[in-house]
């Protein structure tokens, strides 16, 4: 398991979306849009899925209620859960550092200046 390298925001969003159970591409697209405010194109989305699959963070799975034969569902793997956890921890660390460096107060200070 490789948890030293940070995940891209899109990969992280996908992993988070799959935490609640298997999803198909279009549902993931909407979930990511809800999370980040930006909807990825199908190309970007599937390129990310492809890479996550290669890295064993997600896997394809069968779902019985599938309406369309072409529809493919993905689920998160234990490796994916671990990677998402590691990423969350890393982000928390960054956040702590930001707080320690009084990023927030500096920002407000900047606002006052302008």
């Amino acid at each position: 398991m490789n948890n030293t390298e940070p995940l891209t925001p899109l990969s992280m969003a996908i992993l988070l979306a799959l935490m609640d159970g298997p999803q198909h591409g279009y549902a993931l697209m909407r979930e990511i849009e809800a999370q980040t405010g930006r909807r990825p194109g199908t190309g970007t989305l599937y390129a990310a899925l492809d890479r996550l699959e290669e890295e064993d963070h997600i896997a394809e799975c069968e779902v019985e209620t599938a309406e369309d034969a072409r529809r493919r569902y993905f689920r998160i793997t234990p490796g994916g859960v671990a990677a998402a956890r590691a990423e969350s921890a890393r982000m928390l660390g960054v956040l702590d550092q930001a707080r320690a460096g009084s990023v927030f107060t500096s920002f407000s200070a900047l606002r006052e200046l302008s």
Binding site: P6, G25, Y26, M29, G41, T42, A47, D50
Partner: protein, 873 residues
């Protein structure tokens, strides 16, 4: 799924082809399904949402395609799955990355990009179109095997006159097997063909026995001529052109042995030519019929193929050595295409220079746009440099981006060129028929690719160099952002350059326009408005003797004379500006014979002719009826001819001999524009003889009080009612004359179009730079207003800034154009240097356009709100 949805999913599948195949195979179907769901949702939200989805998907798939390939390239190199962080960049992947970066950056600035590509496209397109015309007319060899070595041989007669060689000269050339690989003769003409509906005039090519093998022509059906068919006057056998066979014979394969009524006689069809047969001299007019040319026929054109390695010069030297230096028996050797090139070479050269200037202006404009963009994103560049991007990488990214621009500009250019040649072909006068074959082929595409790349180097070099020079700290200062300082100076210089080039083109176009106008206003010396010319061709097969033809034309002229409202009817072998020539050495009575041949324009006319066309006599008289009837040895000369022959002495009553015949001058007529109004065509020697030989084709000149369609139709029907198989066209004398300026008008129109585009481009350049300066100096302007500056002052300040550059450009342009016009006047149709009027007109047009371009930035500056401007920083 409804139809539009099906179409959309088809489009999507097409876009999926952008992705690498393994990826597509793994995810394609699922992606399609995801897209379909997204499309359904967007469709409910409306058209805009649907369009946005499609645009987004197209861009996304394009980028993903490149990104996945970069990734797999990285994998292949290192055998690893690459990640964004800490990735080692291979040169190939880096380049692809630059391409992605460039596409992204360009797609983010779609308006800028579209505009730059269009600007470039106009430059590249105009240049490409002109190049394809130049190639078709001048550069392309005749389209048959060995055509690039084909040459034409002419007999020289002095005075620059070239005629087909004599039979002895043809034999001599045939015997020179060291110089010529193959030799053949041909001639052209027209025949009247009946029995295919209305009588039609068809273009016929007479070819000697070896012409088919010379040109590598194999009939698609039937055979070529047999040796015995070329004996004597030639047998009555004919090969049909492919087009004629398809249109008139329905492409039947059993036409062999059928007869075609050529000039009233039955000719046997022996074969059908392949579809792509051209004339041996590459003239663009199509051939309808191919008939035998016997060695006994006079006026055969001589064509030969040089042995490989033999140059035209060497062959010419050898022929001169054989024939001697005598100007009148020499052979001149030219490329086979010399007739096609004819008088088009010089106008094409001028237009080629004009489009090169246009392309240069387009490059300068795009260069300016890029400089503007560089200035605008200086901060972005600095941030990237600060994050560790090397200078070479930054320059490379800028170059890749502009290369993408150049490629797109080139693509737009090909479209512009295609549309341009179509448009030009539609407007082209008949004289420029050689341009009808202009098309965009591989060579032309390669040319436009090359000039796009050349343009890319030109327009991207300056911005790239400047980008590299940029010093990191300095870029964050406000100077770089506001476009003052070095960058602005450079951009102003470029605008001044554009103005200068546009001025050059404007003056060139104005000069041509003034020339055409002056030529059109020139007094032709006769009265083309007062008559109509009936061009009548009687069927050769029915009127074979001179007496028959004379009787027929007498009947015709008498019938026309009986029409109401007709004043004058005259008969002649030609009509200005379409007269034939007579040439030979002149021997004036009591003087030494001339050394060089004189070319006389004119020919046989009747007693009423000069009156009918309104050509005044200066001395002596016109022909008398009995002189015309009896064919007396008298002549009426034009002024220049009389002056030339008798050295300015009074010519009336004097005699001279021409090619063994003796003539007495009975009258001297005013010189007229006998071959047209173009500047080089003035003062041609003119001679008229009594109309003794009446040909099948004659001109009936009619002056009448009426000119309406009914009257003209009446003239045609008189001919038709007398001879159903006659060919007749009725044209106003002024129309015939006007057509002689077609080439000049066309050249002037094209040059004007180029000048207009150049003007537009430089106006845009001016507008762009000035707008940016105003935006950059908003703060300063606000300060001035706050300190009490008048708004009119502010406007004047801005106009003054631009005006100085325009003025400098005008001065530079004037210097440039003075040199340029000297070239122009030396190269085409005796164009004269047209005084300050033309310069002034061009300067006014340029000045007004510049003012319009500067107006909006100036108004914007004047409207600056000091409060807003000063708080924005």
């Amino acid at each position: 799924m409804n139809r539009s949805a099906r179409r959309m999913s088809y489009l999507y599948r097409l876009l999926l082809q952008l992705l690498p195949r393994p990826f597509r195979e793994r995810h394609g179907a699922a992606m399609e399904e995801t897209f379909a769901a997204a499309r359904r949702e967007a469709a409910q939200a409306g058209l805009v949402a649907t369009l946005r989805l499609h645009a987004h998907e197209a861009a996304d798939l394009l980028l993903t395609g490149v990104r996945l390939r970069v990734r797999s390239l990285g994998q292949a190199q290192r055998g690893l799955v690459p990640r964004d962080a800490g990735r080692r960049i291979t040169p190939g992947a880096a380049l692809l990355d630059d391409v992605v970066f460039g596409m992204r950056s360009l797609s983010r600035h779609a308006a800028f990009f579209a505009f730059a590509a269009l600007t470039l496209g106009f430059g590249v397109g105009a240049t490409t179109a002109m190049y394809s015309a130049l190639k078709t007319v001048v550069l392309e060899p005749p389209a048959y095997a060995g055509g690039e070595r084909a040459v034409k041989l002419w007999r020289t007669m002095g005075s620059g006159l070239r005629i087909p060689p004599s039979a002895e000269q043809i034999e001599l050339v045939r015997s020179e097997t060291m110089l010529f690989e193959a030799v053949s003769t041909y001639s052209g003409g027209t025949v009247t063909v009946t029995g295919l509906g209305e009588p039609v005039e068809l273009a016929v090519q007479h070819g000697s026995a070896d012409l088919a093998s010379f040109m590598g022509v194999e009939p698609v059906i039937g055979r070529t001529f047999r040796p015995e068919e070329l004996a004597g006057d030639g047998a009555h056998v004919v090969l049909l052109s492919h087009a004629l066979w398809r249109s008139r014979f329905g492409g039947r394969t059993n036409v062999m042995g059928e007869t075609l009524h050529v000039n009233g006689e039955p000719w046997a069809i022996i074969g059908v030519l392949p579809p792509d047969v051209v004339r041996p001299d590459a003239m663009p007019q199509p051939i309808d019929l191919w008939v035998p040319l016997s060695d006994a026929q006079p006026g055969r054109s001589l064509i030969a193929r040089l042995e490989p390695g033999v140059t035209i010069e060497r062959a010419g030297d050898r022929l001169t050595a054989l024939l001697g230096e005598d100007a009148q028996s020499g052979l001149e050797i030219t490329p086979a295409t010399s007739t096609r090139v004819g008088s088009l070479r010089e106008p094409l050269r001028v237009l080629m220079i004009a489009v090169a200037l246009l392309l240069l202006i387009a490059c300068v404009n795009v260069s300016n746009l890029l400089l503007h963009r560089n200035a605008a994103r200086a901060r972005d560049t600095v941030v990237r440099a600060a994050l560790g991007a090397t200078r070479s990488r930054l320059v490379r990214q800028a170059l890749v981006e502009s290369l993408l621009l150049a490629v797109c500009g080139g693509a737009v250019g090909v479209v512009v060129a295609w549309a341009g040649t179509m448009g030009a072909a539609a407007l082209r006068p008949a004289e420029l028929a050689a341009i009808q074959a202009v098309d965009i082929d591989g060579g032309v595409l390669l040319f436009s690719l090359l000039i796009s790349l050349g343009a890319w180097l030109l327009f991207s070099l300056l911005p790239a160099l400047r980008g590299a020079q940029r010093n990191t700290a300095g870029s964050l200062s406000s100077a770089a952002r506001t476009g003052s300082g070095g960058s602005a100076r450079l951009r102003w210089t470029l605008v001044g350059f554009e103005v200068a080039l546009s001025f050059t083109l404007l003056v060139g176009a104005a000069t041509l326009i003034v020339n055409v106008r002056d030529s059109a206003r020139r007094d032709p010396g006769y009265e083309p408005e007062s008559f109509v010319a009936m061009d009548v061709t009687l069927p050769v097969w029915r009127y074979q003797g001179d007496a028959d033809r004379r009787a027929a034309f007498d009947r015709l002229t008498a019938a026309v004379r009986r029409l109401p409202d007709v004043d004058e009817v005259a008969l002649g072998a030609g009509v200005p500006p379409l007269w034939g020539i007579t040439f030979g050495t002149v021997h004036p009575e009591g003087r030494a014979p001339d050394e060089e041949a004189t070319i006389f324009h004119g020919g046989g006319i009747d007693e009423a002719y000069l009156r009918a066309i309104g050509q005044p006599l200066i001395a002596g008289r016109a022909f008398l009826p009995h002189e015309v009837r009896d064919g007396a040895d008298v002549v009426v000369l034009g002024e220049s001819a009389a002056r030339r022959i008798f050295d300015g002495d009074d010519a009336v009553g004097r005699r001279f001999s021409l090619m063994g015949d003796d003539f007495m001058v009975v009258g001297v007529a005013r010189d007229i524009a006998i071959v047209g109004l173009a500047t080089g065509d003035a003062d041609r020697p003119i001679a008229y003889w009594p109309l003794t030989e009446v040909w099948n084709r004659m001109q009936i000149v009619v002056t009448a009080k009426r000119r309406d369609d009914e009257f003209l139709a009446g003239l045609t029907s008189i001919v038709r009612s007398m001879e159903a198989d006659a060919l007749v066209t009725v044209t106003a004398g002024s129309e015939l004359l006007g057509a002689t300026l077609a080439r000049e008008r066309f050249t002037a129109a094209l040059l004007t179009a180029f000048a207009a585009i150049a003007l537009l481009l430089s106006a845009i350049g001016l507008y762009g730079v000035l707008s940016q300066i105003v935006t950059g100096r908003t703060h300063e302007i606000g300060l001035r207003v706050a300190l009490g500056a008048d708004r009119a002052n502010i406007r004047a300040l801005v106009l003054n800034t631009g005006g100085r550059v325009v003025a400098a450009g005008l001065v530079a342009g004037a210097l440039l154009v003075t040199g340029g016009l000297r070239f122009l006047s030396s190269s085409i149709f005796g164009i004269e240097h047209r005084g300050p009027g033309v310069y002034a007109a061009a300067a006014v047009v340029l000045g007004v356009t510049s003012l319009l371009a500067m107006w909006r930035p100036a108004m914007c500056a004047a409207r600056v709100d000091p409060m807003r401007a000063m708080s924005s920083d």
